[in-house]
C-alpha cells in the first residue's frame, strides 16, 4: 500500500475530531524526552492559531512548570506527572488554551502564585526557582495551584487572540 493510499484511508471526520480533543500525557519527571512537552505545546498552539510570540510564552510556562515539579516537588528524583491540555470557552465566551498538571509528590507547594507574579527579581541575590515561577505567572494569563492529599494540581490558562501582546 502506498503512503498516499494510507492518507486517503483516513476519513476527514477522523482528522477533524482530533482538532477538538484533549491531549493527555503521563511522564516520569526525570524523563529524557521532555521534547514531547514541546510537541504537545506546538500542536495545541497551532490549533489555537496562536502567533509565534504567544506560542513561545506557552512553551516557556509549560517547560518551567514541569521543571519546577521535577526539581522542587520531586527533588530531582523520579515521579509521575500527568499533563492534560485542551481548548475551552470560558464563561465570557472567550476561547482559552488550558494546561492541567498533576503530580503525586509528598511535598505540597505552599507559595502564592499571585506573589510570585508580582515579585521583582533581585539580580544580586537570585533565588533558585523564583525566576521560573515569575516566568510562569507572567507568561500565562491565569495560574492556579491546589494542594491535594496526594500531590499538587496546577492549571495554566492562556487567552487566545490575546490583544495585549
Amino acid at each position: 500500500m502506498t503512503a498516499s493510499k494510507c492518507i486517503q484511508d483516513v476519513s476527514f471526520s477522523e482528522c477533524e475530531s482530533s482538532h477538538v480533543g484533549k491531549l493527555h500525557l503521563q511522564i516520569n519527571c526525570n524523563s529524557d524526552c521532555i521534547y514531547v512537552l514541546r510537541s504537545m505545546v506546538a500542536v495545541m498552539t497551532t490549533r489555537a492559531c496562536m502567533e509565534a510570540r504567544q506560542s513561545n510564552r506557552v512553551s516557556i510556562a509549560v517547560d518551567e512548570l514541569f521543571a519546577n515539579i521535577s526539581k522542587h516537588a520531586y527533588g530531582g528524583k523520579a515521579g509521575r506527572v500527568e499533563l492534560e491540555t485542551f481548548l475551552e470557552v470560558d464563561a465570557h465566551g472567550e476561547q482559552e488554551l488550558v494546561f492541567d498538571f498533576r503530580d503525586y509528590a509528598s511535598v505540597g507547594w505552599q507559595g502564592s502564585m499571585e506573589e510570585a507574579a508580582e515579585r521583582s527579581i533581585d539580580v544580586e541575590n537570585l533565588c533558585p526557582g523564583g525566576l521560573g515561577l515569575k516566568l510562569i505567572c507572567s507568561a500565562a494569563d491565569h495560574c492556579e495551584h491546589e494542594v491535594l492529599s496526594d500531590g499538587n494540581h496546577w492549571r495554566l490558562k492562556f487567552c487566545i487572540n490575546n490583544k495585549s501582546l
Binding site: 517547560d63 539580580v123 525566576l131 507568561a139
Partner: protein
C-alpha cells in the same frame, strides 16, 4: 534530543574583548554548559564580554539565571557584559522576567545581519 545541540564558539577580538557565540536552545539541560563556557571569560584583564545570541530561539529561566550570574561576575571583575542579537522570543522572555532593562542589550548585530 534537541537540547544537546547547543554550540559555543569563542571569538577573541583582542586581549580585552571577547565574543561568545551561542547557537541552540538554552534550557535547564544545557545552561550548565553555557555557564562553564562563560565563567572563564571574566578575568581582571577582560574589559568587554559579549554574548551573541542570534542563534538562540528558546531560552528558559535557567538560561536567564546563568546570564544574571554573568552580570554579577562582570560587576566583580569590572568588565562590561553585553548581550546581542536577541531573537524576538528571547527578548520577550527577558521582558516577562522584567530583566530587559537590567542587562546591556545591543540590537545592532541583528540589524547588521538583516541589512
Amino acid at each position: 534530543m534537541m537540547d544537546a545541540n547547543l554550540k559555543f564558539t569563542r571569538h577573541d577580538q583582542n586581549e580585552t574583548q571577547v565574543v561568545l557565540q551561542v547557537d541552540g536552545d538554552v534550557t535547564i539541560h544545557t545552561s550548565p554548559r553555557m555557564r562553564d563556557q562563560l565563567k572563564p571569560l571574566f578575568t581582571a584583564t577582560m574589559k568587554e564580554i559579549r554574548v551573541e545570541l542570534n542563534g538562540v530561539d528558546f531560552m528558559d529561566s535557567s538560561g536567564i539565571a546563568t546570564l544574571v550570574e554573568g552580570l554579577q561576575w562582570a560587576r566583580l571583575t569590572g568588565g562590561r557584559f553585553i548581550l546581542s542579537g536577541l531573537s524576538e522570543n528571547v527578548r520577550d522572555v527577558f521582558a516577562l522576567a522584567k530583566l530587559d532593562t537590567v542587562f546591556d542589550i545591543d540590537s545592532n548585530v541583528i540589524e547588521e545581519k538583516s541589512a
